[in-house]
């Protein structure tokens, strides 16, 4: 029916294009889009955001943050950061995602060094130098190596 489905204004369209991020997924941008009258302008209206599957919502990701101008809003709310274009998570995003979803598997390697390639533990042990050498012997020129800290209830971890 004519009139019921009108085009979204540009400002609203930008709001609904932001992908979920898992933690605080709506953020200021989405919250403001739901609750605030918009009189400002975004610099990111041309951006396109790929849809992010919900099951990946806690996956480590990075986003470029763009400046937003909202002169109609009071004080510091007039300028804020908004998540936008994703950038690479690192050289080992796949491995980090695997670590997030397979903590139970890695528990068997607690207090050891692990070399992870894709979704495979290629070497592990108490000596990181040996773990690197074993990974390289398997043809991995630049191994990803980390120490598996035990998950202990009630322990507060500090830097050193």
């Amino acid at each position: 029916m004519e009139g019921l489905q009108r085009p979204l204004e540009e400002i609203t369209r930008a709001t609904v294009q932001v992908p979920p991020t898992g933690v605080n997924s709506i953020g200021f941008f989405g919250l403001a889009g739901l609750t605030m009258p918009w009189a400002g302008r975004f610099r990111m209206l041309e951006a396109e955001f790929p849809p992010v599957p919900r099951e990946m919502s806690l996956a480590p990701r990075e986003f470029t943050v763009w400046e937003v101008e909202m002169p109609s809003l009071p004080g510091d709310l007039g300028r804020s950061g908004v998540e936008a274009r994703p950038v690479p998570a690192g050289y080992r995003a796949r491995e980090l995602d695997w670590r997030r979803t397979h903590a139970d598997v890695l528990r068997a390697f607690a207090n050891e060094w692990v070399a992870l390639e894709g979704e495979e533990v290629v070497a592990h042990g108490p000596d990181p130098v040996q773990v690197v050498n074993e990974a390289r012997a398997r043809g991995i020129a630049t191994p990803y190596i980390f120490f598996v800290e035990p998950s202990v209830e009630g322990v507060v971890r500090i830097g050193l």
Partner: protein, 138 residues
Amino acid sequence: MVTVTYRYQFNYRQLESGPFPLLQFRVSNPDNSELGLDVDAYLDSGAEGSIFGGHIISALGLELLNDRAKDYAPTFGGSLRGYLHRVLLSHPGIGNFNLEIGFSAEPIKRNLLGRDFFNLVQVGFRERQLTYYLNPSP
């Protein structure tokens, strides 16, 4: 009021022992980029200097022990001897950092990025959101 506009947003990494603010870098020898190692480095704004595990230097084909060393004092007990080496830290998103880092001869579980790294970037933490922001310039 100072307003900082950040280019990059990072979620804390969910590791086996919980969420942590860390960056994943490829560490390589500036004189021989063929040899590298991918490591996680924890952002530690309370540390005056960065300290990494000495095994990384071995993996880069370098000799850990040299005559340029500093003592790194933790919040308890004695101190760690860190041997200074200039290395290249690479991240596919935020770029490269040429940094002189202390590498410990003692085994340490975590690589810490301290204020010498923070001197090269701008970082803003939002702990409640388990998020931090970063600009790759001071």
